[in-house]
């Protein structure tokens, strides 16, 4: 696991646009998915004989299904606005990590098979046949995109490279070139209920242990209920919250908030995962199947509210897709969606983010804090890409930026934002999002973290920041792993509800 040797980029005051290095990251190949998980997901597990036909058919299918994809293929004018906006390009200098180049990997094939000039005079319009070499390039570079959508903010046409990456991965899966990491996770979540593969009895044992810890620590019997029928609130949170540090500290934070509010809440064994890697792979059907577990659990337990824990892409799926995927919120019109909609309490947003929930209680004065308990921390906040650019919180535009910061300010005395061009809508990805959070892509992850690490280093040096506050399980795992490469201590990484947990007063 020592992994390949590579040079860790040097921290600088500003993230300069690097001089390009052709093919600098061409050697990167994520491990291929194995037969068992691909078979389960309904994909081939080795390159099929008819790979070219399958790929083109799949591309045609996706172009027909998603009008956006066709627009993105057609609209680019090569203005170059996106070229220096991708953290992977800034960290690796590989020109194929420029968003326009990543798009072009698919666009040249699109032109050849789906446009008239490309069919007739391909050499004039930059159209190329789909070859095995192109597929290999796709496999390499569509796994060097975290689907963070920063480039799309700067594109005058709003071209969303993330959606192109998603389509690319779906086509790769269709011809038998799946990625091990995502494939295994999507299998486990459907077979066992979470990405980790944590079975019910292990989850129960883990939660009982946490309850003991909290009581030992605070003297208050805070509960973490599981599978309680008739509970008011169902909490859907990433399974890493049960398993890892520092994730678990936020889980303890949510439990304390629910306790202090006197709320009736529960977790579910069946839906013990907020994450939905179906989004990353661009497969709507798989995304729906994974999301359905949550609807099933909500109906089974009879809950009135659904709250989502600290998980970036889960919140995008919940906020932006659950309504049409599963009828949580409004949109679904099958009998189960209708049943769910009459069951859920319409006085609250459905779903609700845990930060919205906590902030609402803070505003009402329900929660009390001793802010001085966080005085050893000087905190900054990293906006997670899927929350920042794929969703919202609260009733005001930009609530996804203000609400987590408001919570931090309510529970701690020392807060400093990083540079404005690196936060909010312009936030830099942690470098591990979108299915990149795997050991075989560690070089991509470390180098891709460079712009964020530069911005973080500035507030560490200038403001004494020693805590990087997060609301995403991927961000937490990614930074815990990569910040030591840049000379920081992994204990600087933590969750917003970890800060809440430290300062909250319990009766």
């Amino acid at each position: 696991m020592a992994g390949p040797e590579f040079e860790v980029p040097k921290l600088t005051e500003y993230t300069d646009v690097p001089k390009i290095k052709e093919g600098a990251m061409a050697h990167v190949k994520s491990f291929p998915a194995a037969k068992a998980s691909q078979e389960f997901l309904g994909y081939p597990w080795e390159l099929t004989e008819d790979w070219q036909e399958r790929a083109i058919n799949k591309m045609g299918d996706l172009l027909g299904k998603y009008r956006s994809l066709r627009v993105f293929m057609d609209a680019c004018v090569h203005c170059g606005a996106c070229t220096d906006k991708c953290h992977y390009f800034l960290g690796t200098a590989d020109p194929k990590n420029m968003p326009v180049a990543r798009q072009e990997l698919m666009r040249k094939v699109y032109r050849r098979y789906f446009t008239l000039p490309g069919k007739i005079v391909p050499w004039l319009v930059g159209a190329e046949d789909l070859t095995k070499e192109t597929l290999a390039d796709w496999y390499s570079y569509y796994h060097q995109c975290s689907e963070c959508r920063r480039c799309s903010v700067y594109c005058p046409y709003g071209i969303d490279t993330a959606e192109i990456t998603m389509a690319g991965r779906e086509i790769l899966n269709t011809v038998g070139m799946g990625q091990k990491y995502s494939s295994e996770i999507l299998t486990k979540v459907q077979k066992i209920g979470n990405n980790l593969g944590l079975p019910g009895p292990a989850l129960e044992d883990t939660l009982l242990g946490l309850e003991e810890d909290i009581e030992l620590d605070t003297g208050v019997p805070v509960k973490i209920p599981l599978d309680v029928k008739g509970a008011e609130i169902l909490l859907i949170t990433p399974s890493a919250d049960f398993f890892s540090e520092p994730h678990v500290e936020s889980l303890i934070g949510y439990a304390k908030v629910f306790h202090a509010a006197g709320a009736s809440w529960t977790l579910s064994t069946h839906a013990s995962e907020a994450g939905n890697f179906g989004l990353f792979n661009g497969n709507y059907e798989v995304m729906k199947k994974v999301a359905m577990r949550i609807r099933d659990a909500a109906l089974e337990l009879g809950v009135k509210r659904i709250i989502v824990g600290e998980c970036g892409h889960a919140w995008r799926v919940a906020y932006s897709f659950w309504n049409t995927l599963t009828g949580i919120g409004y949109g679904g019109n099958d009998p189960f969606s209708i049943e769910l909609q009459s069951q859920l309490d319409s006085r609250y947003p459905q779903p609700m983010h845990i930060c919205e929930y906590t902030w609402d209680l803070i505003e009402k004065g329900t929660l009390k804090f001793d802010k001085s308990l966080n005085d050893d921390r000087i905190i900054t906040f990293h906006d997670s890409c899927n929350v920042a650019r794929g969703s919202r919180m609260g009733n005001e535009p930009g609530g996804q930026f203000t609400i987590p910061r408001n919570i931090i300010r309510a529970v701690a005395n020392n807060f400093h934002d990083m540079a404005p061009e690196t936060i909010g809508e312009a936030t830099f990805c942690c470098g591990g999002g979108g299915g990149v959070l795997t050991d075989d892509l560690i070089e991509v992850r470390v180098k891709g973290a460079l712009p964020r690490m530069n911005a973080f280093n500035n507030v560490v040096q200038n403001n004494g920041v020693n805590f990087l506050g997060l609301i995403c399980a991927i961000c937490k795992a990614q930074f815990t792993k990569v910040i030591p490469y840049y000379g920081f201590d992994r204990s600087m990484v933590g969750g917003v509800h970890q800060l809440v947990s430290t300062a909250i007063k319990l009766d």
């Binding site: 696991m1 020592a2 979470n194 990405n195 883990t206 994450g275 399980a473």
Partner: protein, 111 residues
């Protein structure tokens, strides 16, 4: 899948070097995997590895980090029942590196 030969016995491992069959595990292969990870096994390492295997036997999953630190704390004292101690033993991260040496499947997800 690649095979490795240790003390006269063949073991199948995956592309990351994790043992494919849990039941194949013995001390020899654990020692070999530790060497590959540049981890020098001491009694403290074995305590962790043995606990992981016991837990896996019961729950079919590696223990959460909290569960592990608590068990270590009970066995070896409170000063060792923390994440920092585990990272000292297994620098690449207790969840993945210790699991590998214990012959357990690699934990997946956002960890």
């Amino acid at each position: 899948m690649p095979m490795v030969e240790v003390a006269g016995k063949s073991f199948e491992v995956d592309e990351e070097g994790y043992l494919t069959n849990l039941a194949d595990w013995n001390q020899d292969i654990a020692g070999y995997l530790a060497q590959e990870e540049k981890v020098e096994m001491t009694d403290s390492h074995w305590e962790v590895v043995n606990f992981l295997r016991e837990y896996y036997d019961e729950y079919q999953i590696a223990p959460a980090v909290r569960v592990l630190t608590k068990a270590i704390s009970k066995k070896l004292g409170a000063d060792k029942g923390n994440n920092k101690y585990l990272y000292e033993l297994f620098p690449y991260g207790p969840a993945k590196q210790a699991c590998k040496i214990a012959g357990l499947p690699k934990p997946t997800g956002c960890i």
